[in-house]
């Protein structure tokens, strides 16, 4: 999976020295750059909204066609009443006006009403989104730390057995899709060795309070988060390893070694720090993959996040819910990317200097 995420931005730049933060420079350049990023991301979000708005309208047919069909139970014989219904849904207005009111509704957090679930879509999202954010956040954080350490470790042992085994393992986890990984974890740790619960995010009907409640949530999180973490590891690992290897031969590394600095400092302070910047970009790109991955993982473990919401909406062809989940997840991913881009610009003095 996810073989395409090594972005051009993240390409190792071998000619760069150790990164020295230079505070207090380029404040105005940063502001210009930040404004431009925000503008571009806003434009992307607009594109997402346009896609969602256009999709149902590009489909053949008319949502109110049933009203004109005498054989349908929704048939309305009076053309005037039909027009009233049409006007109620705003379908008699121009596309531009429809779009304007659509965006207005979205801005107020009104995503429509789910007939299948008999609830406002916004309410359903509010119930499910926190679980997905928890699952995604934990997995991304754990995967980042683990892949960084594994990448550094592999670089230090490059060409030897440890490195090769790490490479093979990471390639393995990169190839296998999340749903397969999740199903394997489910079989091994919930069925064959029933260590962790089979499904859900909490024990139903429990009376836990305080600490016990959190322990229960944590226990239910272990398997889904492990599946997602494993599927996110590989790409980042390869990136850290490639960047680190290209820094090893640099003069400043040789100098640092000649100074007699301990290995730990060399690894993390000198070489690791340079791998950190491209790493940051990949974390942003992976937010998108984590969203997709959590949809699959959740639907294996019946974890009550957006994935389960999507799964049920697909079964019922519940279009408002599906559109809203896409809009919200796209918004989350874009927001994470924007945030990381701003952090990147703040941390990397070269960005402001361009």
């Amino acid at each position: 999976m996810a073989t395409d995420v090594i972005d051009r931005r993240a390409a190792p730049r071998p000619d760069q020295g150790p990164h020295l933060p230079q505070a207090g420079r380029g404040g105005r350049r940063f502001a210009t750059m930040a404004l431009r990023s925000i503008g571009l991301y806003a434009l992307t979000m607009l594109a997402v909204v346009v896609v969602v708005f256009a999709l149902p309208r590009a489909m053949p047919g008319d949502p109110l066609l049933a009203l004109e069909d005498p054989d349908n139970s929704l048939y309305l014989s009076d053309p005037a009443v039909r027009e009233q219904v049409r006007a109620y849904y705003g379908l008699d207005k121009s596309l531009v006006e429809q779009f304007r009111s659509y965006v207005g509704n979205l801005a107020r957090g009104e995503f429509g009403f789910s007939i299948a679930r008999k609830a406002p879509v916004g309410h359903l999202i509010k119930l499910h989104l926190p679980w997905t954010l928890l699952l995604m956040g934990v997995s991304l954080a754990v995967a980042s730390v683990l892949s960084f350490m594994a990448g550094v470790a592999a670089t230090w042992r490059r060409g030897r057995a440890g490195d090769r085994w790490l490479m093979i393992g990471m390639t393995f986890f990169r190839a296998i899709p999340e749903y397969a990984l999740a199903a394997v974890l489910l079989i091994v740790f919930a069925v064959v060795f029933p260590v962790f619960p089979l499904a859900g995010a909490r024990t139903p009907f429990n009376q836990y309070g305080g600490l016990e409640r959190w322990a229960d949530i944590g226990r239910h999180l272990v398997l889904p988060a492990s599946a997602l973490t494993l599927s996110l590891l590989g790409t980042k690992f390869l990136l850290v390893r490639n960047t680190m290897i290209s820094t090893l031969g640099q003069d400043y590394m040789v100098l640092a070694r000649a100074k007699g600095l301990p290995d730990r400092l060399l690894k993390y302070r000198h070489a690791g720090r340079n791998a950190l910047l491209p790493f940051l970009t990949v974390v942003g790109i992976q937010a998108g993959f984590a969203v997709g991955g959590s949809v699959f993982v959740e639907s294996v473990f019946a974890y009550p996040g957006m994935g389960t919401l999507i799964l049920r909406a697909v079964e019922a062809r519940d279009y408002p819910v599906l559109e809203a989940t896409f809009l919200v997840l796209a918004f989350v991913v874009l927001a994470v990317n924007l945030l990381l881009e701003l952090v990147y610009a703040r941390v990397d003095p070269r960005v402001g200097a361009e």
């Binding site: 991301y41 992307t44 490059r158 060409g159 490195d163 899709p177 069925v191 089979l198 949809v295 697909v314």
Partner: protein, 308 residues
């Protein structure tokens, strides 16, 4: 949105007069292993009609019956033969790999070549679109489009191709950019060859290996996405995709209270994982063949003392 973070383009290099160096890199073992795995699946998919003991939808036995002489991999919840379903799933996956993967490559390579060759505004515009599509989360996008487009394997392939081309376009573009500076291409331009001709005669052959690697990568992602969408219930209901088998098994009430998961849930997981491992290995092999620098870091030369 990535404009500000991009490393500056390499300065225009002086015209490279030396003939292109022949790279003497073997196709690495991992690539051969991958190729073998993919080939086995391809043969199974092609021969599925003759290998399948039953028709895919045929209710040929009792529900959740364990493996026996009649049903080598047992039966599923309604009494269909799991082995026959798996073989049908192999056909679905191979079809998706070829059609969706090929479509992705076609769109990506064409746009990449146009962007790299035309440069200027066209290039900038196309690369903005690439950035835009790349940052939108793919799985929710596919889900929304697939629900509206309705079921059908070919439709699914088209959707996957339409949303998957950006990485391929980017890789091909950068290759074309570097080829543009080569002597023989400059000569062709100097002789007044038209763009279409130069692209076909001089650029296309040189990006051949990259295109094959691109196809392999695109095929792998297409297989992953198709099985994933089928797993979510968005596949073609008339065919037994591996994702759909997985979904049926997991949704079967009390699956884990019987032993049925051993022959019903495990085989599709193994099949999809094995095929994707094969595709990935093949991809890694091709990458090492194209870019020997990658291989050097991983194998023989890496045995130098590890310390800098």
């Amino acid at each position: 949105m990535t404009a500000t973070l991009r490393p500056p383009e390499a300065p225009v290099a002086p015209v490279d007069l030396a003939p292109a160096k022949r790279r003497r890199t073997r196709f690495p073992a991992i690539g051969w292993i991958g190729l073998a795995i993919v080939a086995v699946f391809a043969v199974l998919a092609l021969a599925a009609p003759w290998l399948s003991p039953y028709r895919v939808i045929e209710l040929s036995g009792d529900p959740i019956d364990g493996p026996s002489a009649q049903h080598l991999l047992g039966t599923n919840g309604v009494g269909q033969d799991v082995l026959s379903q798996l073989l049908s799933g192999a056909r679905v996956s191979m079809f998706v790999a070829l059609v969706a993967g090929g479509g992705t490559l076609l769109i990506g390579a064409s746009l990449g070549m146009v962007a790299g060759w035309a440069g200027g505004t066209t290039d900038a515009l196309l690369m903005r679109v690439v950035d835009l599509v790349l940052v939108i989360p793919k799985v929710p996008l596919l889900i929304v489009i697939a629900t509206y487009a309705g079921p059908g394997l070919t439709v699914l392939c088209v959707i996957i191709a339409l949303t998957s081309w950006p990485p391929t376009a980017r890789v091909v573009r950068s290759q074309v950019l570097s080829l543009r500076r080569r002597a023989h291409v400059k000569a062709a331009v100097g002789f007044g060859g038209n763009s279409a001709q130069i692209l076909r005669r001089h650029i296309l052959p040189e990006v051949g290996l990259i295109l094959i690697a691109g196809l392999v990568g695109a095929a792998g992602r297409a297989i992953t996405f198709e099985a994933g969408l089928a797993f979510l219930g968005l596949g073609d209901p008339t065919r037994a995709s591996w994702g759909a088998i997985l979904r049926d098994a997991i949704d079967f009430g009390g699956l884990f209270y019987t032993d049925a998961w051993k022959w019903w849930l495990v085989p599709p997981i193994v099949a999809v994982s094995l095929l994707l491992l094969g595709v990935t290995f093949l991809g890694v092999g091709l990458e090492q063949r194209i870019n020997p620098r990658l291989a050097r870091h991983t194998s023989r030369l890496g045995r130098r003392p590890a310390r800098p």
